[in-house]
């Protein structure tokens, strides 16, 4: 009798749990919000990226290290299974991921409406509108004063942001005036203000591989994104450091941007 009673309690508890679970799954109260985190985990091929110390091999067989890696992620949109979209408020949708700064690897998106999200879309770089906007509205990571020296991400002589900056050493790189075998990729170009020119603003959509990221008031999923910088050297164009050790504002930069737009992949979702 006692056992039956316990079994009954267990059944009741279990059904309550199931009921709760179901409620949680179906409840998309638009007034309810949670948060969603994107973690940008920079890697090289299948290896961890060790800034300054690791040595790697690119698709052309060249050896390289990475001494600096910065890139902008902006205009983040979370997409639901039905195709509907939650876009972050534009003003707070600019992030600079810096390999040298662990805190910058995680992007926290607050006040996301509850829902089942299946993919994310973002810009690698800074959209053209923000590149031409009043300086008073360029705060945070867009304020040139906040990224200076090696971390500078703004071209003052040719107004516009550097979207992606990667530097390192490679024995295949010709010796630079400072005596180093260094490669430097500073990629930007928003299409030009008064005359059209290269546009390296890239929009990337990452699928969660069939997994639903369930955002609820008390459920805060987290997308772990691998960013494989080996892809910078491969894809539509095999980039050889020996031939292109310095790529900045030039037609060739388009090839590097076309390559690096494929470096992002969602490895898994933590619920």
């Amino acid at each position: 009798m006692k056992n039956i009673r316990i079994a009954g309690y267990l059944l009741l508890t279990a059904s309550l749990l199931v009921f709760t679970q179901c409620k949680k799954d179906d409840d998309n109260d638009p007034n309810e919000t949670g948060h969603f985190e994107m973690e940008f985990d920079n890697i090289v091929g299948g290896e961890e990226l060790n800034l300054g110390t690791g040595t790697y091999t690119n698709a052309a067989g060249e050896t390289f290290s990475v001494t600096l890696l910065n890139y902008y992620i902006s205009n983040i949109e979370l997409i639901r299974a039905d195709g509907s979209v939650y876009a972050m408020p534009q003003d707070s949708s600019y992030f600079l991921v810096k390999e040298s700064d662990d805190a910058s690897h995680a992007i926290e998106i607050e006040d996301v409406p509850a829902g089942d999200y299946t993919s994310v879309r973002f810009v690698v770089g800074v959209d053209s509108l923000r590149n031409t906007m009043d300086i008073g509205q360029r705060t945070g990571v867009l304020d040139p004063a906040n990224n200076t020296g090696d971390d500078n991400m703004y071209w003052t002589w040719n107004s516009g942001y550097i979207f992606f900056k990667m530097e390192g050493l490679s024995p295949q790189a010709p010796v630079d005036p400072g005596g180093l075998n260094k490669y430097r990729f500073h990629i930007g170009g928003f299409g030009g203000m008064s005359s059209p020119t290269i546009n390296n603003v890239k929009t990337v959509t990452l699928d969660f591989n069939g997994v639903k990221a369930l955002v609820r008031k008390d459920a805060h999923p987290h997308a772990h994104i691998f960013v494989d910088v080996a892809k910078v050297f491969e894809g539509e164009t095999t980039v050889k450091i020996a031939e292109n050790s310095t790529v900045m504002f030039s037609p060739f930069s388009v090839n590097i941007a076309n390559n690096y737009q494929h470096m992002f992949v969602v490895d898994h979702i933590h619920q």
């Binding site: 360029r138 040139p144 004063a145 040719n158 107004s159 030009g192 504002f249």
Partner: protein, 345 residues
């Protein structure tokens, strides 16, 4: 007093006037007023209205060496009022550690009408302009965050920012907008030519009038209108043998823009030598001789600079050249280069 762009002698007297308040410090009432014979400015004043306090802050910044790495070079070092805010006598400017730049310093003048900056037009907003000389390693070579920190630690600045913007906060946007306010007030519109045009001054000399006629026929298709430029980018046929600076192509990456540079205004041109983007000509005679007979035929040469037989150059007699120079000298604006409000205080 009002520091406005009054024209004519009365205006000039007003410009020169000053008054003292009870505390003994100078009081000026600064506002941007479009000269009546100028087109509408292109600068977006809605985002940065010129105020007396903003102008005073901008002027203080313009003449402050703190904007450079070793506190030695100010904006005013290479943009000197007496030379219409250019670096007089310098083909290329020497910045910090006496390093040379690659181009001749253009005048800080009538910038409210300019929609692109630099010889190649690489900057599209006056508010973004000052970042470039501050951070250029051969100009001021300073990091923007360090500049802001130096200003925050200088007891003069928080009150100046407070007066200009309502709080003492010192930010990138405020620094740049204050500099813009000063530069926007560097308006030159009161030359002998202007006074003649407006009927407020004497006629120009016979030589200058003859020069103006020739100028209008042979030069004004590019140096057009009351600002004496159409702000276009053109290849004017300079010999490229010793200077391969690609000019506008660096910005657009379009090979058709190779060796194109912005058509400069000719206001105060008698004071802004040396000439061309690299300062290769030291006087106006050399410039006119070049246009008459020194041009080098090349790809991208501006079609307007070809004669009817296809050869490059502009037909100019010795007399025409002299007269054009006499006319160009009437574009000098003494009020502009002597206005004490635009000077280092």
């Amino acid at each position: 007093m009002k520091f406005r762009l009054y024209l004519g002698v009365v205006g000039a007297l007003l410009l020169m006037a000053s008054c003292k308040d009870n505390g003994g410090s100078e009081v000026v009432d600064v506002q941007f007023v479009k000269p009546s014979h100028f087109p509408e400015p292109v600068y977006n004043f809605a985002e940065n209205e010129v105020t007396t306090e903003g102008f005073v802050l901008g002027r203080t910044l313009f003449y402050d060496g703190k904007l450079s790495r070793d506190n030695s070079i100010s904006c005013g070092s290479c943009h000197q009022q007496s030379a219409a805010f250019t670096h007089h006598g310098h083909d290329l400017s020497h910045g910090i550690d006496d390093q040379l730049g690659s181009r001749n310093a253009p005048p800080v003048m009538n910038l409210a009408w300019q929609s692109t900056f630099f010889w190649d037009g690489g900057v599209h907003d006056l508010d973004l302009f000052s970042l470039a000389p501050i951070e250029n390693p051969v100009e001021m070579d300073e990091k923007l965050d360090v500049v802001l920190e130096k200003l925050r630690n200088d007891p003069r600045y928080p009150p100046l920012f407070n007066a200009a913007f309502g709080t003492p906060e010192i930010s990138t946007g405020r620094l740049l907008k204050a500099l813009s306010q000063f530069m926007l007030m560097c308006v030159s519109a009161d030359s002998d030519y202007d006074r003649m045009l407006l009927g407020t001054g004497p006629d120009l000399s016979t030589e200058a009038m003859a020069g103006m006629e020739t100028f209008n026929q042979k030069c004004a298709s590019c140096h057009s209108g009351v600002l004496f430029t159409d702000y276009s980018f053109r290849n004017n046929g300079l010999n490229r043998a010793f200077n391969q600076d690609a000019g506008r192509e660096r910005i657009t990456l379009n090979p058709e823009d190779r060796f194109k540079f912005k058509v400069p205004s000719l206001r105060n041109v008698a004071r802004t030598g040396p000439y061309m983007h690299d300062g290769r000509y030291y006087n106006l005679e050399a410039v006119l001789n070049y246009y008459a007979s020194g041009m080098v035929d090349q790809e991208n040469l501006d079609p307007l600079l070809r004669k009817s037989d296809g050869t490059p150059g502009i037909d100019l007699s010795a007399n025409e050249k002299e007269n054009i120079i006499a006319f160009l000298k009437t574009l000098s604006d003494e009020q502009f280069i002597r206005n004490p409000e635009l000077a280092e205080q």
